[in-house]
């Protein structure tokens, strides 16, 4: 039941709504611009002559006879077989998230339930690990991976992504488990369960919100990663981000940049669906977990 005071449009409320509107515009404008521009030719979207060309599609009209063109999408999906990268990305993301969460949950749970000093120091060390610039790590991997003949394949990349995202996953899950009352699993252990059984039967059923939230972040890390996937994957196994980079890299050829733009827009669609689908869980997950630290 909203009281009168709450439902009235106070100045504060007006200010906050205007603030949200400004933020929504700022956050979405570059993306909307990209969506609109993905139906134009390069000369319009990346126009040096006049930026309004990107809106009205002057050159698009000249070159294709219409103000909108699907050339970018056709080029990316049909000519350059962007769908292969989509499949590769799905594999990489699926396994990275699953493995990250599985081992991260076990580790995070242990860290949250152990009161010994070494647990604290492990958490600290994990932070230091996270501080290492990825570019150094990846350059270091190259030679041994080539030597062992495991460069370029998806499993290698998956393991590397899992490992370098582990510190973040651990921290987040650790703070989440801190919020699940200790009594729950301890009661189960008093009843004769082992630690693992307690974890399985008592903790797993209640941990999903936190795991899903952490999963969203691991998903985004794996999905958006550029340094690792670019340097460690061979061309047949390219995921979408290096693929998009390769559209940009061979920019000597007019039009390839538009493949990248179209690819980016297409790549956002599954994310849109995913966020819409998990939106409630994301929020409730954080609510239950990491938030309270």
């Amino acid at each position: 039941m909203a009281t009168k005071a709450q439902s009235r449009l106070s100045p504060l409320k007006v200010v906050s709504i205007i603030f949200v509107i400004i933020w929504v515009l700022l956050a979405s404008f570059p993306f909307l611009w990209t969506v609109w521009g993905s139906f134009k030719v390069q000369g319009d979207f990346f126009s040096k002559a006049d930026w309004t060309n990107a809106i009205f599609g002057v050159q698009t009209l000249e070159q294709t006879g219409s103000r909108f063109t699907l050339d970018g999408y056709y080029g990316a999906w049909v000519e350059e077989e962007f769908w292969r990268s989509v499949i590769n990305t799905s594999i990489v993301v699926f396994f990275t998230v699953t493995i990250s969460l599985t081992i991260g949950t076990l580790g995070g749970y242990a860290l949250a339930r152990s009161g010994y000093k070494y647990a604290f120091w492990l958490l600290m060390v994990a932070l230091v690990f996270r501080a290492m610039p990825h570019i150094t790590l990846v350059s270091g991997y190259l030679l041994p991976f080539f030597e062992w003949n495991i460069w370029g394949i998806l499993p290698t990349t998956i393991i590397v992504l899992v490992a370098i995202n582990q510190p973040f996953t651990l921290w987040m899950l650790h703070s989440f488990f801190l919020n699940i009352p200790k009594d729950m699993d301890e009661a189960a252990m008093v009843d004769g369960c082992t630690r693992f059984q307690a974890f399985r039967h008592v903790i797993i059923p209640v941990m999903w919100p936190g795991v899903i939230t952490t999963g969203l972040f691991s998903f985004l890390l794996a999905y958006n990663d550029f340094t690792v996937t670019r340097m460690l994957l061979s061309q047949e196994n390219e995921t979408i981000i290096p693929k998009i980079q390769s559209f940009l890299g061979s920019a000597q050829v007019e039009g390839n940049v538009m493949f990248a733009v179209a690819a980016v827009v297409s790549a956002t669609v599954p994310l849109f669906i995913l966020v819409m689908f998990f939106q409630r869980q994301i929020v409730s997950g954080l609510t239950a977990g990491a938030v309270k630290g």
């Binding site: 390069q42 000369g43 990346f46 126009s47 040096k48 002559a49 050159q59 070159q63 190259l142 030679l143 080539f146 030597e147 003949n149 460069w151 370029g152 670019r230 340097m231 061979s234 061309q235 980079q245 390769s246 940009l248 890299g249 061979s250 920019a251 000597q252 050829v253 007019e254 039009g255």
Partner: protein, 410 residues
């Protein structure tokens, strides 16, 4: 009727082709790595079309980060790729680690159709076979020059600056010059003008730096005189941006790569006004000197050290078969080919004039990348006006010395 003729000609060429290609030992694995641009696509694609059926495995990998990972890829035995397609500076990078094999025996066996001037020899041994040339040179818009009352195409830096001044004075453009000056390009800019002034980057026969001198100061001043009239964002410009500005008709004088000539002169992405009036000419000379401010580049094929002889033979034979008049005829405008049968068009005018003018090839010295990188990193302060020329040159030497010492050259 016309279409039919072409189809027939195609079949005929195809038949001739299969008979003529000497593909080397069959059933071997051929794995080619290269950068991703049209000329390399043409060569590697033709090699695959000619000999792909004959090979046990034939892969072509064209990446934009080839340079970043090729040494690590080629170090193990067997190497990841049997051939890397390189340029001057990247050949040095591979040779520093001993990752390319001499090609004399393979050239003797499969190189009948190759031109002698395609051979890149180092100490008497053929280490690479070049197929295309490239260099920076001057692009001019004749209509704008005319409008500003400038006669002819500028040939020296002073003339370029004077023309730019005239264009600005006539109120046509505030910043008529475009040049590539971001990152790596900045170091290259220094090379261009340092060589044009007659400088040598290193003391003869050693790795000691040799840029902190009057020649260096003169080179920096030449660059500065141009950037006064260059687009204010020039420090963030690479080829894509300068080409974009040119095609949009926002520049009248440009120092850009010859390899962009084809794309600039074609009818895509630009108006007829720009393409019809764009003239490609030799890179400008400086101060009464005769050397154009450019470095000459080639791209060519190499064969890996850490592979079997049979693989090396199959790979070389496939690539040699692609460096043919047939391939050039099909891809004439994709590059400035060094291969027989090339018909130079207007897009090649700038590079050939620059080469004839006596521009220097980009040096193939093991430590040149460190000098280049030092110049790229330190030159920005000077161009932004934060630092004197002498200070910048001494910074370049200091940065180079630090890197070269670590790499064991000093």
């Amino acid at each position: 009727m016309f279409l039919k003729k072409i189809a027939l000609a195609g079949t005929f060429a195809g038949l001739m082709g299969t008979a003529a290609y000497a593909c080397g030992p069959s059933g071997e694995s051929v794995r080619i790595l290269g950068s991703d641009f049209p000329a390399i696509q043409a060569v590697s694609g033709t090699a695959q079309a000619n000999c792909g059926g004959d090979a046990g495995e034939f892969t072509v990998t064209l990446r934009d980060d080839t340079r970043d990972m090729m040494n690590q890829a080629q170090t193990p035995n067997p190497a990841q790729y049997t051939s890397v397609i390189v340029a001057n500076s990247t050949l040095t990078q591979l040779m520093n680690d001993g990752l390319v094999r001499p090609l004399d025996d393979l050239v003797a066996k499969y190189g009948q159709d190759l031109n002698p001037n395609q051979m890149i020899t180092i100490d008497g041994q053929i280490m690479a076979v070049a197929f295309m040339a490239n260099s920076q040179h001057l692009y001019s818009r004749t209509d704008i020059l005319e409008q500003a009352g400038v006669e002819g195409i500028p040939a020296t830096v002073d003339e370029v600056v004077a023309a730019a001044q005239a264009i600005r004075a006539a109120g046509i453009m505030e910043y008529p010059i475009v040049l590539n000056a971001s990152g790596w390009n900045m170091g290259e800019l220094f090379n261009l003008f340092y060589f044009a002034h007659g400088g040598e980057l290193f003391k003869p026969g050693s790795a000691e730096p040799n840029v902190n001198n009057e020649i260096g100061v003169a080179a920096l001043n030449s660059i500065k005189s141009l950037t006064e009239y260059a687009h204010p964002d020039h420090l963030s410009h690479a080829s894509n941006e300068t080409q974009g500005l040119w095609e949009a008709g926002q520049a009248a004088l440009g120092i850009m790569w010859g390899s962009r000539g084809g794309a600039i002169l074609d009818d895509e992405g630009s108006s007829p006004e720009v393409t019809e009036n764009t003239v490609l000419s030799a890179a400008p000379t400086v101060d009464g000197g005769s050397i154009p401010a450019a470095t000459l580049w080639w791209d060519g094929v190499t064969i890996a050290t850490n592979i079997s002889d049979a693989e090396a033979e199959a790979t070389f034979a496939a690539l040699a078969s692609a460096m043919s008049a047939d391939m050039v005829a099909e891809h004439n405008d994709d590059a400035i080919w060094l291969i027989d049968g090339y018909q130079p068009g207007p897009a090649a005018a700038g590079v050939s004039a620059t080469a004839q003018g006596g521009a220097k090839p980009y040096p193939m010295i093991p430590y040149v990348n460190f000098m280049h990188n030092a110049a790229s990193a330190e030159l920005a302060d000077f161009l932004k006006g934060d630092e004197s020329a002498e200070q910048t040159l001494s910074d370049i030497e200091a940065a180079y010395t630090t890197a070269a010492t670590e790499a064991g050259f000093l």
